[in-house]
């Protein structure tokens, strides 16, 4: 048991002693200190001090011991470790036992989902790590929360951005004047010793640029080469290095080259390094924005919670909140963990998780999700899920995983990327040889320009970035709208669906039957009161609808007597001395009651998809009551959106055909599969797939799971069951079919963006490389300058990232 629970709150103890005057006679300090030490060492809390008033001294020792502990805890604080090698409850017990055995540890708790270990008490980090290691696992101290890590990450990115800008400025500061000199004077040749001296100096300055601003390209290229790998660094290093070496050769031994080829290219080396560094700096900034969605979600996580401990509200770091704790959340505050309301009522804004624009009323028994915003009332709630178990944490995890997953469409780009750099190196050498052997004079200079330009213009980054950047932004954008995509494959398949099969109950309808019609030959409220009184004893879903309707009308319900549930027929009983019967036509026939004109009325209601019940009082039918599962308010608009997206909609339901067809007719759905067993749903999905159609399935229940898993894309809707969410490719946080339409629109927008990026990257490289190789020379009489090639390369990957960022402005077509 924790020490907190054994004691009276500090303030109340002090108050109590002050009031009773028991502290008037002070205990000698030295004696107290000795005893405190004894208490502390022996862990005895009830040790009595020889004193005229033993009780008081015992209490004061408790107080001192407690304060010491409080101080110690505040000094050391809880420590959080990341564990490795932990995968079952057995591991949890072993680790907790090992750490609890450490002197000073007052509690250890392993969170299996997070793979973290929280240690309370005054223990040093090394002994904790060692204790865990000896238990057979690994542990390392976690210094900060993920949010703090992100902030540090952003800070480092900023530093890197500034560093790149500085490198770029220095390199361009050398390159631009050199290039301007060449353009203005056209004197970049080395023919005299004076020119050799001047250009030699320039060469050394350029070397400084290559080393200080572009050194990482060379070290990266060298390391990659040693690993039989070639990267963008290889191309940049080869391009700039070749240009510099050639220029130095011109400076040092000009007589070895024909006069027309004695041209230096120092400006190209410096400019390329400068432009590529500038492009990278801008890319760092643009890429920071692509992960904005996850950061927004992380910001929803609160860092502390107000927990009720021993009747007091204390602010604790979120890591210390445990399932079962009672927490208080005030108006305007975020809900820190998932839980269930124990007391109070309030409106809670869940838009950040579900995309649902209207705040939801929360009363006793309602569930709360971490990260949502409490609007206007104070709520006391019990923590149900904490740490990595909260829905918010799982959403963040799912989004992060999906953001970095591969999309099948990128397979070709991936293959090309993997061989791209060596292929470009070969093309560059071949092009250079062609110019050297077949080109016009000055052949050597042309060979060098072509070689450098081809190496520099080729951009494997644009190709490699094309898909991941769009997926990152698209998946994040989905999370903002309550659409959680499991992976890139689901995202791609969502936009090519032909058919959407939709489970009726809970998806197209509310999922809770409601009384829709009551038709009687007398006072309908009186009849409702009688039948609702009778139904109080029944547990049938239809009975719940009848009782709720009576309660809504604030009718006073009587306790029935002689209540009897007649299986598959209905119920009977006595209410206020009247014999009341409620049930289907079979019950009425069994009781020998004639349906008369009510039969026609009942038939009309049944046609409209209602379930009809006859009500008889004292041997005479008094009316009919119709119950139906009402269609969701937004279902019709959502179906129209889905149809506009080119999808055919079909209903799958276990319900009777009449009610399913009524719903289908109302919503304009052509095909209904009714009275199905769970395995039938999967079979129907498989049959549709067998016809070559790509099938999406929308469902929320356990029995939908096989069909969700079978479908090309399974959409788990709303607060669906965990099984449904597990089997689904896309989880919709909101209980609305609009979520499906949003998901499909988003997937189409993302795929469009990916295609634009891939197309751009392919076109860029497949046009850029031949142009750099000089195919336009016969027409234009010019070769592409390596400087232009460098600029094009630097901005090609920036263009890809910027285009992916356009997805951030995606808005679903839903109108509220």
């Amino acid at each position: 048991m924790s020490w907190r629970n054994n004691n009276i709150p500090l303030e109340s103890m002090r108050e109590h002693w002050r009031m009773t005057g028991l502290f008037r006679r002070p205990i000698p300090a030295a004696k107290l200190t000795d005893e405190m030490a004894a208490v502390s060492q022996q862990g005895t809390r009830d040790k009595r001090l020889p004193s005229p008033n033993g009780k008081v001294v015992t209490l004061s020792l408790k107080l001192v011991s407690w304060e010491r502990k409080m101080t110690k805890e505040q000094q050391s604080g809880p420590r959080l470790f990341r564990l490795s090698g932990v995968n079952c409850a057995g591991c949890t017990n072993k680790i907790e036992a090992a750490v609890n055995a450490l002197p000073g540890a007052s509690g250890a708790r392993v969170n299996l989902a997070d793979k973290t270990l929280l240690i309370q008490g005054n223990v040093n980090v090394e002994s904790c790590v060692e204790a865990v290691r000896q238990a057979g696992y690994g542990a390392e101290l976690l210094q900060s929360s993920e949010r703090q890590q992100r902030a540090e990450q952003r800070e480092q990115e900023q530093r890197h951005y500034r560093q790149l800008l500085w490198r770029s400025t220095f390199a361009l500061g050398v390159g631009v004047p050199l290039m301007a000199w060449g353009l203005i004077t056209d004197n970049v040749s080395v023919n005299t010793p004076a020119e050799q001296l001047v250009w030699g100096g320039m060469g050394l300055i350029t070397l400084a640029v290559l080393v200080f601003c572009g050194g990482h390209f060379f070290s990266g290229a060298w390391k990659a080469l040693r690993h039989h790998n070639a990267t963008m660094d290889t191309l940049v290093a080869l391009g700039t290095g070749t240009a510099w070496l050639f220029s130095m050769m011109v400076v040092l031994v000009p007589h070895l080259l024909p006069e027309a080829a004695r041209h230096v290219y120092f400006e190209a080396s410096a400019m390329i390094i400068g432009l590529i560094s500038l492009g990278q700096a801008l890319e760092v900034r643009a890429r920071g924005r692509t992960s904005a969605a996850v950061e927004k979600l992380l910001e929803l996580q609160d860092s502390s919670a107000r927990v009720l401990r021993d009747g007091r509200e204390v602010d604790l770091p979120i890591e210390q909140v445990q399932a079962g704790d009672q927490l208080r959340v005030r108006p305007g505050e975020k809900i820190p963990v998932d839980g269930v309301v124990l007391e109070g009522s309030s409106l809670v804004d869940e838009a950040m998780l579900t995309g649902e624009p209207v705040p939801v009323k929360k009363v006793e028994g309602a569930s709360l999700a971490a990260g949502t915003l409490n609007k206007n009332g104070s709520l006391l709630f019990r923590a149900e899920k904490v740490g990595a178990d909260t829905r918010l944490a799982q959403i963040i995890e799912m989004v992060k995983n999906a953001q970095s997953s591969r999309v099948p469409i990128a397979r070709l780009a991936d293959k090309i990327s993997s061989i791209f750099v060596p292929v470009v190196m070969i093309i560059a050498v071949v092009a250079a040889l062609v110019w050297f052997n077949l080109g016009p004079e000055p052949r050597v200079a042309h060979m060098l320009v072509v070689l450098t330009s081809v190496l520099i213009i080729a951009c494997p980054c644009a190709l490699g970035l094309a898909t991941p950047m769009s997926v990152m932004v698209g998946v994040g954008k989905g999370a903002e709208h309550g659409v959680l995509v499991r992976n890139g494959k689901a995202l791609q398949q969502s936009c090519t669906l032909d058919v959407l099969v939709v489970d009726k109950t809970g998806t197209l309808t509310e999922g809770a039957p409601r009384l829709t019609d009551i038709d009687s030959d007398g006072d309908s409220d009186e009849l409702l009161q009688q039948v609702a009184s009778l139904e109080q004893g029944s547990e049938h879903p239809l009975a719940e609808a009848v009782v709720t309707a009576a309660q809504d009308k604030q009718l006073h319900l009587e306790r029935p007597t002689h209540f009897e549930a007649i299986n598959a027929h209905g119920v009977s009983g006595v209410v206020r001395g009247n014999k009341v019967l409620l049930g289907n036509n079979k019950l009425m026939a069994k009781e020998g009651l004639s349906l008369g004109p009510w039969q026609e009325r009942a038939a009309k209601l049944a046609e409209a998809g209602r379930t009809v019940i006859y009500a008889a009082v004292d041997g005479k039918i008094k009316g009919v009551i119709a119950v139906a599962d009402p269609i969701r308010e937004d279902a019709e608009a959502a179906i129209i959106r889905l149809k506009n997206l080119g999808l055919r909609i079909e209903i799958l339901t276990g319900d009777n055909r009449a009610s399913a067809e009524a719903v289908a007719e109302r919503l304009g759905i052509d095909r209904v599969h009714a009275e199905l067993l769970p395995e039938d749903k999967e079979r129907i999905v498989a049959e549709l797939q067998g016809k070559g159609e790509r099938v999406g399935m929308v469902g929320d229940g356990i029995n939908d799971a096989p069909a969700l898993a079978r479908a090309d894309v399974g959409f788990a809707i709303g607060a669906g069951t965990d099984v449904a969410i597990e089997s689904a490719d896309v989880t919709l946080m909101r209980s609305s079919l609009h979520g499906v339409a949003n998901a499909i629109e988003l997937s189409r927008a993302t795929l469009r963006n990916i295609k634009q990026n891939l197309f751009g990257a392919f076109i860029y490289n497949s046009l850029g490389i031949p142009i750099a190789a000089g195919v336009l020379y016969p027409v234009t009489g010019l070769l592409l300058s390596p400087v232009i090639a460098g600029a094009a390369m630097a901005f090609s990957s920036l263009t890809v990232v910027t285009n992916a960022n356009r997805l951030r402005f995606f808005k679903p077509s839903e109108t509220h």
Binding site: R82, S84, G85, N87, K115, G138, E140, Q149, E152, Q156, E157, R159, H160, Q163, H216, S219, G220, A221, W222, K223, A224, L225, R226, H227, H228, N229, A230, T231, M232, D233, Q280, E283, V284, R287, K400, N401, S404, S405, R406, D414, S417, S418, I419, P422, M425, I426, V429, V430, A432, L433, F436, N437, M447, P460, C461, L463, G464, L465, P468, N487
Partner: protein, 122 residues
């Protein structure tokens, strides 16, 4: 003479590229074999070090990626075949949980496939 020399050098470079990057034997230097200690991979200068990691198949393992390259290229590590990915913190060892998997070669790379490595489960 110069023409022959330049062409010969060019052809040699082409052959060297083909041999070094595709045909030549991949050096086994820098392999990391399972041990009781921490399995750390350095992410720096365009390469994972070590870039070939041998581990016993059939058990989950945690690899620690220490990223020292601030460029965004190195920010993510992906194991496409294992559906594992992780965002790597700069100058820190980020644990990446590798689930239990069948014996085989599982490539891992950065988003742009410039950083490349292979996890060998045997």
């Amino acid at each position: 003479m110069a023409i022959i020399l330049v062409n010969a050098i060019g052809l040699l470079i082409i052959l060297a590229v083909i041999w070094w990057f595709w045909l030549g034997p991949k050096r086994s230097a820098g392999q990391l074999v399972s041990s009781a200690g921490k399995l750390q991979i350095l992410v720096k200068d365009g390469v994972y070090e070590p870039d070939r990691i041998r581990l016993p198949a059939g058990c989950a393992v945690t690899l620690y990626f220490r990223r020292e390259d601030p460029s965004p290229c190195s920010e993510w590590v992906l194991f496409p075949d294992l559906e594992v990915s992780a965002e790597l913190a700069l100058n820190k060892a980020t644990p990446v949980e590798i689930p239990e998997a069948e014996p085989g070669e599982y490539p891992f790379n950065c988003q742009m496939q410039m950083y490349r490595g292979t996890l060998i489960l045997e």
